[in-house]
Structure formats: C-alpha cells, structure tokens
Symmetry: C2
C-alpha cells in the first residue's frame, strides 16, 4: 500500500510533490518556520512544505502540481522583505529560489547581464567587478535579485541610478498556467505591446514566479567620493537635500540618519560621529567632477547651518562609512536587548520632505516611542525603525499609530504609503487609502485575470 492512500487531499498534494521532487522537498518544522516570513514584525504563516528549486523546470513542475491540487505558492528569495511578503497565510508550498544562483551571462558590450533569481546583489557585483561594471540597486540587505525585482526594491543609489523598475530589462516568469514567458527584450527601450516587465516588477510574487532576470549594468565610476555632514536641526539637513536635488546636483547617494540613529550606529559600529542629524553622501564621476559636486554640496550645507562636509576618498574609509549605514537596522535593534524592529517607509514629493520628516519625528517623540529615522532622502523616501520591546505589547500599538499617521500625511502630501518596501500584508489598507477603491479594484482584476485560482502568494497586496 502506498503511503498516499491514507492521506487527506492536502497530504495527497504533498505526497505528489514529494514523489516529484524527492529530497528537494523539505517538510521539517524548522525549514517551514524558516520560510514563514518571521523576520520583521509580522506574524508568520507556515508553509506546508518547502521546495528547494534547482531549475526553471522544477518551478514549472511545482506550479503545475500546485495548480492541480489547489495548493498556494509563496516564492521565496533571500527572505529580507519587510512587509510580511513571505508569510504563507494559506499554507501551501514555499518555493525557495536561493539555490538558483547562477549568473547566466555577463554582456559587457551591451552593459547587461542575465541571472537566476537567487543570485544576490553582492554576488553579482563581485562577478561584475573585473568587467569594470556594477549593478547599483542597493536596498541594504544582501537581497536576491529575483526578490528585489518582485518588490520593486531601490535603496541608497536610486537617486542617481533609479530603482528596479528602471534597471530590469526583462524577466522570465512561470505563469499560473505553467507557461514560461519572457517579459521584455535586450533593447534599451521598446514600445512593443504592454509593459509586462513593469507589471511583474513589484508584483510581490502574486502574478507568477520569476526564474531569470535580465539587468541593466553601469560602468564603475572613475572616481567615487563619500562624505558626511552634520546639522543641528533635522529640517535643515532635509532642506539641504531638497536644494541639492532642485539644483540638479547628480549625487549618487544622499542618506539621512537622525540623531537617534547616529547614536545607535556609533555604539554598534564603533564610530565617533557627532550625535546630530547627519547626511551620508556619495558622488560618482571624474576626479574633477566629484570634487566640484562635493564643493557645491558643501556650500549648500553651510548656508543651511550644516557643519563641514567631511570627505572620504579611500575605499576602506568609504566602505566603513557605508557598512555603518547598512548596519543601521542592526544598530537600531541593539538599542534594546531582545528587541523586534518594525521598519516602515513612505515617499513624498521632495519639496514636502522636511515637513513630512519633522512631523513624524515630533510624533515619535510625543508618543514616547523608541524609533530612529533613516532615509533615502534624495528620492523623498525615508524609514522609521521602531525598536519594540517584545514584552510590552503596547509598544506595537504606539508604533502602529505613528505609522498610520505618517502614511496618512504622506498621502495628503501627494506621496505614497511605501517607496520601496511594498505592500505585503502590512500596507494593504494603506494602498486602498492611497489609490482609492477603483484603482485597487483594477489591480485585483489584473490579479484575477492572470491567476484565477489565487494560487500565487495569497493574502498579499489585497485585503
């Protein structure tokens, strides 16, 4: 007697998957818990099983089996998303794509590459270095490129190089019908039909499974100059950013860390920065170009009461600075032993950024919450990192209130409830508040048309 004969329908599906995939299908509690999206502040839902996919064919076969058996699918990359995207709210199969980590092609002549979805941005940049090229999108975490495409990631370099929206040329996607499509071409631009690449970038795993990514690359700049400048007042720091952007200064990175975050970074990364709101900057260009840009920015900062722009040209100094910036999350977390960090983000039109950040910082202080502000301020995008005491459930309610008011203000200012983290579970009501019922209904119509059974990543984006 086969084992399947005694099983429930769902178990039958798992048995079928097990038959098809053997050791690649993992059913252990530990593996399922690792794939439940427990990072971040959302409650995770455990998948029934995890498939360690090794190839596109694995994904096609899994989609086919899940479709026939009514099993949900949650595509899973490096697991660094922040809005509960990976939670298997309806159980089903987590398709782990991290083993699909081959760089399929680097084409320096056309400044593009094609990678499997599990390739991480650090892995890619290491491989690109000898070609004098790099991939600029840097959300901080060492995310997978498939995941970054799925969440429309951006990060510190987006002010100059754009987001995943601008740097994905094409995706290979397995659809709900188990077909493999290519969403674009290798041409720099195209007006051939609907922009399927744009539709799948940012669709958060709800429309299909990404199995390959074609990316636009950029030349490593001849010169890179990093710098920091501190301000007494956070609004003055933001005003300096606004002026630089309005002036058209082609700054590559312009990050704000508020006083609380600088304090956290000093402690965590053994730095001795002045504990004041501080901008971290980076200029890309020729030797003369970056010097000129830095001088111009220094002038703007001084006029707004900022300190001296302290620059770092040496790679190791730059690396140390940006490592501290990238560790901001862990530095905030270390502010409170055993803390959970809830990271949220909004993005507003640049001229409203000072107003938006000042109001949020005041709200945090009045609410007595422990939270830092970190921002990709050149884009009008910033984060609040709530440092929650897991033994004080009221902490979460206070944070929820601040987050709700921050999002409402961003929407009122013409902005968006999320600049780069996505909707996931956490921002579903915010999306409705921002776009209105008709626009979200139109998104739901698209979802239903491509995935009528609601197989792909259920419970995300839509309430």
């Amino acid at each position: 007697m086969r084992q399947t004969d005694l099983l429930e329908p769902e178990d039958t599906a798992l048995a079928a998957l097990s038959d098809a995939f053997g050791d690649k299908l993992v059913l252990s509690e530990a593996a399922r818990a690792q794939h439940a999206g427990l990072e971040g502040h959302h409650t995770g839902g455990l998948p029934d099983a995890v498939l360690m996919a090794a190839s596109r064919d694995d994904v096609v076969a899994a989609v086919d089996l899940c479709a026939r058996n009514g099993l949900a699918i949650v595509p899973h990359g490096a697991g660094t998303s922040l809005e509960g995207h990976l939670s298997a709210v309806r159980g089903g199969l987590s398709i782990d794509l991290t083993a699909m980590d081959r760089i399929l092609e680097i084409d320096p002549q056309n400044m593009l590459c094609r990678v499997e979805p599990g390739v991480t941005r650090e892995q890619l940049n290491l491989a690109l270095r000898d070609h004098g090229l790099f991939f600029p999108i840097d959300p901080g975490a060492n995310a997978s490129l498939g995941g970054m495409a799925a969440t429309r990631a951006s990060g510190t370099n987006a002010v100059l190089y754009g987001t995943m929206r601008d740097n994905v040329l094409s995706l290979e996607v397995v659809t709900a019908q188990g077909r493999v499509i290519e969403t674009g071409t290798r041409a720099k631009k195209s007006s051939a039909g609907y922009d399927l690449t744009g539709l799948f970038v940012g669709s958060e795993g709800t429309l299909g499974v990404i199995t390959a990514v074609t990316l636009r690359l950029h030349g490593i700049p001849q010169a890179i100059l990093a710098g920091t400048v501190a301000f007494d007042d956070i609004s003055d720091a933001v005003r300096a950013v606004i002026q630089a952007i309005q002036f058209g200064l082609p700054v590559a990175r312009i990050e704000l860390l508020d006083e609380a975050q600088i304090r956290a970074c000093n402690a965590f990364s053994k730095l001795d920065l002045a504990e004041r709101p501080t901008l971290f900057l980076e200029f890309h260009g020729t030797d003369d170009g970056v010097a000129e840009q830095a001088a111009l920015f220094g002038e703007i900062a001084r006029e707004l009461g900022g300190g001296e722009l302290e620059t770092a040209l040496r790679t190791e100094d730059r690396t140390r600075l940006w490592k501290a910036r990238h560790d901001a999350y862990f530095a905030a977390k270390a502010l409170r032993p055993g803390a959970k960090v809830w990271t949220t983000d909004v993005c507003v039109p640049i001229a409203s950024l000072a107003e938006s950040i000042a109001a949020t910082r005041a709200d945090i202080d009045e609410s007595g919450a422990l939270a830092t502000i970190v921002g990709h301020v050149g884009d009008g995008n910033y984060h609040v990192l709530f440092v929650l005491d897991p033994n004080a459930p009221e902490d979460r309610d206070v944070a929820a209130g601040i987050n709700e008011r921050m999002v409402a203000r961003a929407i009122r200012l013409g902005g968006t409830c999320t600049g780069e983290h996505g909707v996931g579970i956490g921002k579903r009501q915010c999306l409705l508040d921002e776009r209105g019922a008709d626009a979200v209904a139109l998104m739901a119509t698209l979802k239903h048309a491509l995935d009528p059974a609601g197989m792909f990543n259920p419970g995300k984006i839509f309430l």
Copy 2:
C-alpha cells in the same frame, strides 16, 4: 416623431451621443476622414462620429454611452502616430482630446506638472521656460502628451532623459466601466501595488482613455552645445556612438542621418552639409562639462575616421540644426513628388547597432528602394523612411520585405520590433514573432480583463 424612431441600432447610439453632446459631436465626412488615421501608410477606417471632448466628464459620459450601445472608441490626440493607431477599423466614436489642452499645474518645487491630454509638447515647453524647466521627450512631431503617453514615445533626448515610461509619474484614466482612476502618485518612486502607470503608458488606447498626465520635469541645463560630425562610412559613425555610450559619455542627443537623408535635408532645409553619414549631437551640462564632453566625443570620432566635430553654441544655430533634423520626414517626402512616406523603427542592443544598420542599408540598396535611415542611435533605435511612389504599388511590397527582414534581424539580435512607434495595426505579427504566443496571450488576457467588450481601440496590438 423624434428622428431616432426610424434609425438602426448604430444610428440610435449616434443619436444618443448627439443628444448628449450637441455641437461637440461631429458627423461630417470631412471630420470623420480627418480622424481615420490616414497619415502614414496605413489604410484608414472612418469612425462613425467624432466627439470634440472638452472635459473629463465628456469622456466619462461618452464611454458610458458607447459601452451601453456597443460602440467602439478610438482616443485621438494630435494624430501623429505612425502605425495605424487611429484607424477606426470597427467604426464607432473617435474621441478627439485636442481641445482638452489646459496645463493644470506647474509645480517647480517638485519639478512636475499636470496637464490635460491634448497639451502638446511645444505648448508645454513654452509654458515651462520661465520656470527654468523643460520636458525633454521629443518625438519630432508636435505630439500631444496624452498621445505620447499612450504610445510610450521617446525620440531624440531619450538617451539621457529616458522615454515616456520614465517621465510619466501618473495618469488619470477613464476605464471601460466609466470609472476615473489615478494610476500613481507624485512621489518620485513607489512600491505600492502593481505599476498601473507603466501598464497604461504604451497601451495605445486599448485599455482606457487618458484624461490627465502628471509629468516629471527637468532643469534647463546651464549650457547646451550642439554639434555635427560626418563619416565616410555609416558603420564607423555607428561605432563612434557605441564607444561613446559604452564609455558612459552623458550625451543628451545623438542622432544618425545617413547619406540619403543628409541629401534630402540639404535640399529641403537649405543646408550645405557634406553628403555623408552624419551624427547630430547635443551635450547638456555646465560650460566646462559640455566642452569636455564634446572634446571627448571629438576624439572618439577622429579615431574612427570621422571628420571634425563642428559645434554650435548659439541658440539660433542649434535651432536651425535641430529643425532640419525634425523636418527629416518632410525632407524625405520631398524626394519624390506626391510620395507617401512609410516610417518604421526597430531598436537593438547597442553593440549590435552597426551590424543592424549596415545590413538594413545594404538591403535597401540591393532592393532598389528609395529610403533614408535616421536614428536615435544612442538608444540603439533607428528608423527607415520609405519614400513610396503611390502610382507604383510594387514599391510598397519592396518596402514590406525590407521592413520584415529588418524586424527579423532586430529580434535575432535580442532587440525589439519597435523602439518607439508602437504596434498599432502594422506591427501585430512582429509583436508575436518577438515575444512569442504565450507572452502576447498574457497581454490579451490583461486587455480582456480590463475591457471585456473590446470597446477601446479595437484591431490594435493584437491580431
């Protein structure tokens, strides 16, 4: 007795439209012929009526009436599209949006504006000039911004500033259900839900009617330097472009005109350019910056056997040069009295551009066709302008063969069948050849989901 009592169902629909819109509904043969997409080489289909829409409310009411009466709708801007987009293949209502030409808002602080769809790019740039801002997308014709969004237009400045895909922040759209949605926000980036803006940009009027456009603006550069450089060989000219792009030279415009086109321009625009393949360039930046860029490009050109880079800093010289470039279509048309011009375009990965253009030029010459080549070569995008003798029907067949082979080659090189003109009627088979049946079927699924009755611009994009 009311006039409607004696009429057929379609006439009843027209009578209902006439009742609702009065003088704004035009039924004359002349107006209908003007809205049949007769420009270009496609055969036009006459709409049954033309609505001169004055407001969003007009559009909503028209969509509602057409939906109830099963009438097709063809949205109509300045009428400069090239692939038969405006042909009313199923009759119905042409909604002329040119009277909706109000600039609703200019927001210099956030470097954005909001316009009605009938505003033309020249009208907008005139209004922006006093703010020190401009809108860079320039397809040549004085197209409407709604139409440019609908066809994902790009043109001469796209190499530096991107296409409509990159410069539309949000659209107001009337859907098939008569609902008014806003596809985006005013934030520079967002990851809130599916990219509806990206879906509607380039949808060629098949998913809804655009009633307002929010656009990203750019600062007028401090210095603009234009220049021309001629080559003996067209492949060397293209190789200079490839090298400049691979070097990362931030050139704002880089246009190729082949020998035949230069000859046409000299005659039409009273110029005395050497009759050789020539690049028209423009550099944007600071005084020093543009001089440095021009010097660098001059070096690249010389190394590849190009002539001297002849520069023009004065506005009137630049204007004369670019006017000639913009009049390339009319210059080609004037090569043969009474000629019809068929303009096609492809876009290939930059490293394959020389091969692509050389093969196409050779094919034209071997076929004995009268045709010029003009290209936005910095993007890998170029056009062939076939100058057809209307009394020699075989001209069209020869052109069709060259076009088919050019598209097939572009696809083989990883490129696209159209970089900026769109699919319309003319490139429907090419779209299938390029993306494959599954990807195009997915596009059709999206179309059917949003417009189940197939009301919007039928017969376009899909065979």
